[in-house]
């Protein structure tokens, strides 16, 4: 299938929304609001014979009546109307179709028959490409295009998401937005009546906006082809996969969901591993790895330096590293002496570098840079430095509440200093990654209102700050897996 054919769907100039609604709390209403309100620069043709206009935009009775031929039609009507609408789209010269409507293969015999009818109608129009049915739609932040009924719109970036589940995809989008993960494309692939994950993979292989590919799959139409394609792409663009339906219980659930049979899962997973594809266990991990792979330089080995404000977190993180196959090397005596010159006297004199709650603002940055300089370290994890601001805010707030004698200026100055310090630390971290080409991963410990990814305009890398050490160590361990595999296969 030629790549440019999918450009009609993913980079359309005119979009028909078939079955729009002016109820803002319905699927069709949300999709309308998303597309129009999201800032899409092309033309939108709402279609519904019941309305003269929706959101002030002229509504057309059918696709034949619109002024120019749309590149893309989004169908949101009841399932039983869809086959006829597909035919009308084909007759009107529309080649790209997204069917959001549910009630097909996943919904019993009647639905299966309807899905078969869609395929029959499609076969009359060889150039037609269909996403869905039973899907969430697509998002392309780079074009401000939200042709979905998802709740959220992440920033533009380099991660492409494909999800066979709409409900799960919706949450991935919401999390990506909250966590500051920029995406190139989201596709809710639904029942895959025509276009499958393999087609999307091939498109993304050549999409210049996409550097990382993330998939939630319940079934794979052609497993061997998928593995071959993903393996090829994975050398240039990391491919991260969560396969739902790994277990008997999950498989039974998947069958009633996207109407899929999950096939031989153990075989699929083994094939993924042999192909170097990163398979993950839970959806939150898809986000964690997206953040890391899209924002950080790849580590060249598995040796980790740890910088912490408190000993307990250093211990816990060192344990996690060891248990995940990462080393926490001892520092050579000379290095301890030389970095000790720049650190407060009470530091731990070892790795983890424990700065024992220092208030010295420079010490953590000195420690990170000294570790990065050393050839014995491939990556640095720093704990509780960005994130301490939450404690400072709690402290000043409670001091204001209880201590009438506390100087308001002093408290405000502490808050300001702490905030500026964190912003400065993020910037400096990114600059250090650019200088040393080694990843620095932050752990905030406290829940902050900032995202996981802290994007800085004009920089090659971004700051990454997870809430817990286990998330940071997992992301780093998977990056090391990827490095190892790439190195093995390029040698």
């Amino acid at each position: 299938m030629p790549i440019k054919t999918l450009d009609k769907i993913f980079r359309p100039k005119r979009i028909a929304l078939i079955g729009v609604s002016n109820n803002p709390d319905s699927v069709a209403g949300i999709a309308l609001k998303n597309l129009v309100g999201g800032g899409f620069q092309g033309v939108v043709y709402p279609i519904n014979p019941k309305y003269e206009a929706v959101m002030g935009i002229t509504c057309y009775p059918d696709v034949k009546s619109v002024p120019k031929i749309p590149d893309l039609a989004v169908i949101m009507t009841a399932a039983k109307l869809v086959p006829k609408l597909v035919r009308e789209c084909g007759e009107a010269g529309i080649h790209g179709i997204i069917i959001m409507s549910a009630g097909f293969k996943e919904a019993g015999e009647e639905g299966k028959a309807l899905e078969k009818q869609i395929k029959e109608e499609k076969s009359k129009f060889p150039d037609m490409r269909i996403i869905g049915p039973n899907c969430l739609g697509i998002l392309v932040p780079g074009l401000s295009m939200n042709a979905s009924f998802a709740n959220g719109m992440p920033e533009k970036g380099h991660v492409a998401f494909i999800s066979q589940s709409g409900n799960l995809g919706n949450q991935l989008i919401h999390w990506a937005e909250q966590q500051g993960i920029g995406i190139s494309l989201f596709v809710g692939s639904g029942n895959e009546a025509q276009l499958t994950c393999n087609d999307y993979l091939e498109y993304l292989e050549r999409d210049p906006h996409t550097r990382i590919i993330v998939l939630y799959l319940e079934s794979v139409a052609n497993g061997n082809e998928f593995i071959d394609t993903a393996k090829r792409i994975n050398r240039e663009k990391p491919v991260i996969v969560l396969k739902g339906g790994r277990t008997d219980a999950g498989k039974a659930a998947a069958a009633s969901h996207t109407g899929s049979m999950s096939g031989e899962n153990a075989v699929f997973r083994a094939a993924c591993r042999q192909a170097g594809i990163l398979d993950v266990r839970v959806p939150s991990e898809l986000l964690d790895l997206s953040a890391a792979f899209s924002s950080l330089p790849l580590p060249k080995g598995n040796r980790v330096g740890i910088v912490t404000l408190g000993g307990g977190w250093g211990v816990v993180t060192a344990d996690e590293c060891n248990e995940r196959g990462l080393q926490v090397p001892r520092l050579p005596h000379g290095l301890i002496e030389s970095i000790g010159e720049h650190l407060p006297p009470f530091w731990s004199r070892g790795n983890p570098v424990d700065l024992v709650g220092t208030r010295d603002m420079e010490a953590p940055l000195v420690a990170v840079e000294e570790l990065l300089k050393w050839e014995g370290i491939d990556a640095v994890i720093c704990l509780g430095i960005v994130g301490r601001n939450e404690f400072v805010r709690q402290l000043t707030r409670s001091t204001r509440d209880v201590d009438e004698q506390a100087s308001p200026e002093f408290l405000t100055s502490i808050e300001k200093l702490s905030h500026e310090y964190e912003e400065g630390f993020v910037t400096k971290t990114v600059e250090l990654m650019e200088a040393y080409e080694k990843p620095v991963i932050g752990v905030s410990l406290s829940r902050t209102d900032k995202g996981t990814v802290r994007f800085l305009p004009g920089k090659r890398y971004s700051g990454v700050f997870y809430q817990t050490p286990e998330n940071a160590v997992n992301a780093l361990a998977r990056m090391v897996d990827h490095t190892r595999f790439s190195r093995f296969h390029s040698s």
Copy 2:
């Protein structure tokens, strides 16, 4: 050691704060603000010869000068002053001492010598009990007593925390507060120059306010005694342990932190498991299990019913259950028919019960109750029902932004309905747990500003809502472990 002796420390009427400061950004300043500002109902004697008063409270030059003998003295001075102050406390008749000051065993030879001097001074006063040194202090929310320099004060409740690390303990406290986990007591045990975890365990065994005991340990002074005590207590009060220093890297870090040698860890962990003590891997799990064990009835078996608004989350959760040893039983035909009478026609007709994004407010509750009624189910996990409110808020906000024709009253009514529905769902969930004595665990998926635990006054149980299914499944799997162990040992 008699239990009541520790009551002097944990339930004091008069507290001397030795080395107070009026700098709100110092350890001693924070401790003062915490104790006075936290609402402690007893008497506080600030001690520092440099001040006439702090926060408006008369300051005394030393412990000899205070009006009545304090039950507890908290020492926050430089390390080198501490041995002399311990002697002065003893001479003044003070039996309870918390030494927050650092710079002892964890800080090299000089510190070791100072810690030895403390023990020598202590030996002159047989009734004296010392917590620390190098510790965070203690919190007793039930007495509004915050004798620590922690950033936060959880609600009162039934979970006791003991942490050998101050930095990590501080974060546990912060998380407990954010997550709505009520605590009976927090002890930062620090270097354990005198009182050890074993002493605290024995105290907590008989403490009527404590039902669950959570420990972060780096070293155990007397492993066999610890295991014996914990094993005995665990039959009545679940004991949850995170042992830092499990690996070589972690062990090295622990040695430079609390000055501890971690001992034979594999042996310790095996002993924990044999004793039925719940050992966990990461700090966040301590909170997750605290929430579950303190809020939910124990499951009687491992059979889980899953209720979801979307198929993908059902699949992922079923996979997690199976991989963690939990069953997701098929529903018998008769049950499908009878519960189908109350559900929308498009439900999955199986377990997971997939309600396919229903707007029917009653359907999720009906599904939960029907599952609970069935003797083939021991616990229910429900996904995305409480938490959907975040999406509703996002929807109404963005609709207001882009659609001038949208009725403000309609949008407000949707928000109100959604909020009230969630509150009602939490209440109903708790009532169902009381009626059926089976746990119902929620997964919010979205990050909410509510805590994990939703406490309802006058109820035996509380609602528990984790953000991700993996957290819910893990908590449930560990509860099943506990049930299995208890049953095995009572038979």
